[in-house]
Amino acid sequence: MICKKMEEKHSTVLPVFDPDDSSGCVVDYCKNLMDYARKESCGQCVFCREGTWQIYAIINDITEGLARSDDYELLLDILLQMEQGASCEMTREAAGRCIRLMREQEEEWDKHLRRKRCTNLVCRCSYTLYIDPGVCDGCGKCLEVVPAGAISGGEGMIHIINSDSAAYAGLSPSICPRGAVKKAGPVKPKLPAEPVPAGSFTAEEASGEGDTSRRRRRRG
């Protein structure tokens, strides 16, 4: 045992998971847990120094929809060695918590891994951002904070997020002070194709039952 991070405090300062939090996600929590641990690592033992980085990288891929088919087993494989072999209590505890949460909430993990879905739309893989045409008043404040090309529209016009834009990944709901930027899960709302004057767009106008697009399941 070499590491100074053996004190009990490190296992208590680790972020806490609240299973009832409707805005939380177990996968996202594990990612943040490992992010904390990897930055705290003293850099001596391989399971702490490299293990936390590797686990973080894999879970991060999962949250972004880049999971590989054997990632669940891979995570457990590495986490088990970390839990038993790491030189410090912090990493043993963090790895142990991940293992527990993977087993307890296997269904949620499976949803992320196989279907790229996140129940509470926390993880990036699970949602697309859109501007609710019913809320947007065309104030243009979002345009000031995002890179050019990410959002189209002018003053008084309903803005539209260009999901093909390179800057798309950097957007978040917080860019709109009115809360018009929303997350859409598998069911996509109907939106105007071009910016139209604010208040002129109604969902009924454009909707048709069959037009609601559903994401195709990748795997069964």
Binding site: S41, G43, Q44, V46, W53, Q81, Q84, G85
Partner: protein
């Protein structure tokens, strides 16, 4: 120390009680993979590769951290252990580049060897790229490719534990840990002593020696001490510098005397190839090795070395040596020690060769040379001075069992067009000899020296000291390519000697067998082709200079001719085989007469080689090695010294600060004391030194 018996993988092995399980296994020839463990460093248990299971211990433990116990039962290859190792290695590789073949440590890398041993490759894990690895910068001695670092921490421990320096640490920046200097400053701003211990222990290509610092054409252990390697006689320079630093001058001279027969003269005039090899040169300036040697010799009051010389019993075999210069006298001394009857023939009134008749007295006083010759003669060498030997046949009836020719290169060599008997021209070698003999007349008011090597400057400075008003040195090399020692050049400039570099003489005006004037051109460069010398002349740069005397310092060659009785090469050089034997059995040659002008120390080394070969030829073992200073175990710790990298060279001319200068030494030799970890393919691991249960 108590021995304990333990069982590893079904073998009962024995080990000292204080050893770790890993050390015990490795010693017994049982290989357990390991990476952060190093035999000279405190075990850390951070790489997890030396994992084992021990009966009675819960789970997997690190064998480097477990001390052996009587009756212990260890398993090094269970499924769980293998799994632990594989994952640990996979994790290290995830942030390690996979371009093994482009790494300079390729095939010499412990990580690569472990990949081969375990079969783990860059595979199923995510590649992890770390940003902070780019912080470390290489300097002129140490190449740092920190993306190859696996943070085993060996370098940090070597720097701290072995050396007591602590220039390296595990740093943390932006949530990433990496090996760096304290504060990420360049090594020159840390306490680093540039000893190379970190390079030596690094298992990967993360910390390496900069290419070009060490010679790559000699065995590694030899190359790692560049001063000693560059010295033709391979004197143990780091050791005597250390002894000078400890003010143990007699011990230092013992070390010097093991290899050098004219140490005081060398301390004054050696061409110091050692200093051109000195590793410190890459930090700032080389150590003043030559001066430190002279200082040691001058301060050796006890001459302990004389009591340590070992001698073989006298025998009746006789060796005749022609030429009493450094090569001849050195060979004579070693042969006398080996018990041979040794006689030296010297045509001049004094022995010493170029030490007595070549190098000007202002650089090398005759008293010192005479004293050193007397010391050698104490070994029982007969020196026949004023005895010229112009042909081998002269010695035939004297019944020598072996003859050594060390007549040097004493004849000047001029450019072919200037081989004329002008009355006011001299070859440098003759000028120097006449000066040493004190029979140099009045050279005139203007003396021109053609040639910018050491000998050229010897002539120019001698002329100046004689009172010649205008002395100029003309040389074809550009100012920065001149062959003379920079120190000589700057002293010549201080003495008001004119240096015309990058110029060639294209014509000499003569009248009544005298040189009247020279035509000079500026040149951009020159080369030697089949047609002879070719000049790249600057057009319109021709100038005319009058001179009262011209000295050709354009080279020297031996005086041998066909009548001497041995086969020659290139007209006048003695032809010798690999054992320095000439075409005539029992006749050897060494020194300048075989290879042309080099240096005093090269002649000494050649004389030693000749002594070995002659001893072998006469039925001896050919060993002339002698130890005058019993090597002590070196302290690996060197500690810190304020602003070590910035310490500048102090030449030890007047009030010598030898302590200060010797402190600057990087102590390259300490690196050889660091053990090399055995690779798993080593023959040591082929058989287990234990009993199968």
């Amino acid at each position: 120390m108590e021995k304990v018996k333990l069982q590893i993988d079904g073998y009962i092995i024995e080990s000292n009680e204080n050893k770790s399980v890993l050390e015990a296994a490795l010693e017994a020839g049982i290989y357990i993979p390991h990476l952060c463990y190093h035999p000279d460093l405190t075990p850390l248990g951070n790489c997890k590769l030396c994992a084992v299971e021990i009966d009675g211990e819960p789970g997997i433990v690190q064998s480097c951290e477990m001390t052996v116990r009587e009756g212990m039962v260890v398993h090094t290859n269970t499924e769980a252990v293998t799994k632990r190792r594989m994952v640990a290695l996979e994790l290290m590789l995830a942030s390690h580049p996979s371009d093994c073949t482009s790494c300079d440590k390729y095939l010499n890398c412990e990580l690569q060897a472990l990949m081969q041993y375990t079969g783990v490759a860059h595979s199923r894990l995510r590649e992890v790229e770390k940003e902070n690895t780019r912080i470390a910068q290489s300097d002129r001695l140490i190449k740092r490719e920190m993306q190859r670092c696996i943070q085993c921490g060996r370098c940090v421990r070597a720097c701290q534990e072995l050396r007591g320096v602590g220039a390296l640490s595990i740093n943390n920046k932006n949530g990433e840990t990496y090996i760096g200097t304290q504060g990420d400053v360049p090594l020159t701003e840390t306490d680093c002593r540039f000893c190379g211990a970190c390079v030596e222990v690094c298992p990967t290509g993360a910390i390496q020696d900069m290419k070009g610092v060490f010679a790559d054409n000699v065995p590694r252990r030899q190359a790692l001490i560049p001063c000693k390697n560059e010295c033709p006689a391979h004197a143990d320079i780091p050791l005597y510098i250390r002894l000078v630093n400890q003010e143990r001058y007699s011990d230092a001279v013992c070390v010097i005397r093991e290899k050098l027969t004219f140490p005081h003269s060398l301390g004054l005039v050696c061409t110091h190839a050692c200093e051109s090899g000195c590793k410190r040169r890459h930090v700032n300036e080389a150590i003043a090795i030559k001066d430190l040697k002279r200082f040691a010799v001058e301060n050796d009051t006890k001459e302990v070395w004389k009591t340590k010389v070992t001698r073989s019993p006298k025998n009746s075999k006789k060796v005749g040596i022609i030429g009493g210069g450094p090569a001849g006298m050195t060979a004579a001394w070693y042969l006398a020690r080996k018990g041979y009857v040794t006689e030296v023939y010297e045509r001049m009134p004094l022995a010493g060769g170029m030490l007595s008749y070549g190098i000007p007295k202002y650089r090398l006083p005759q008293d010192g040379v005479n004293k050193e010759i007397e010391i050698l003669k104490e070994e029982g060498i007969t020196v026949h001075t004023n005895t010229s030997v112009s042909s081998l046949s002269q010695l035939e009836e004297k019944g020598y069992d072996a003859i050594l020719i060390t007549t040097g290169a004493c004849r000047g060599k001029r450019p072919p067009d200037y081989n004329k008997p002008w009355t006011n021209s001299l070859d440098a070698v003759d000028f120097c000899r006449m000066s040493c003999e004190g029979r140099l007349g009045e050279p005139g008011d203007v003396v021109t020296v053609y040639g910018g090597g050491s000998v050229g400057f010897d002539c120019a400075r001698t002329a100046k000291k004689q009172g010649v008003k205008t002395v100029r040195v003309i040389c074809m090399e550009a100012r920065d390519k001149m062959l003379a020692d920079p120190e000589e050049i700057s002293e010549a400039l201080m003495e008001d000697i004119e240096i015309l570099s990058g110029r060639a003489i294209v014509n000499i005006e003569e009248a009544q067998s005298r040189v009247e004037a020279l035509s000079l051109v500026r040149i951009n460069g020159f080369s030697f082709s089949a047609k002879g010398l070719e000049l790249d002349v600057v057009e319109g740069s021709e100038t005319r200079l009058e001179t009262d005397m011209i000295i050709f310092a354009t080279g020297q060659q031996p005086e041998l001719d066909e009548s001497y009785g041995i086969e020659l090469v290139r007209g006048c050089f003695a032809k010798v085989d690999g054992s320095l034997q000439t075409s005539k059995a029992g006749v050897f040659a060494a020194g300048d007469v075989t290879y042309g002008t080099k240096s005093v120390v090269a002649a000494i080394a050649s004389g030693q080689d000749a002594a070995k070969e002659i001893d072998k030829y006469l039925g001896g073992d050919g060993s002339i090695e002698d130890i005058y200073f019993e090597r002590e175990e070196q302290q690996p710790a060197i500690g810190t010294t304020d602003s070590f990298a910035g310490l500048t060279r102090t030449d030890c001319h007047a009030a010598c600060d030898a302590g200060k200068e010797s402190l600057r030494c990087l102590q390259c030799d300490l690196r050889l004391d660091i053990q090399k970890d055995r690779n798993w393919v080593d023959a040591h691991y082929k058989t287990v030194k234990g009993v199968k249960v």
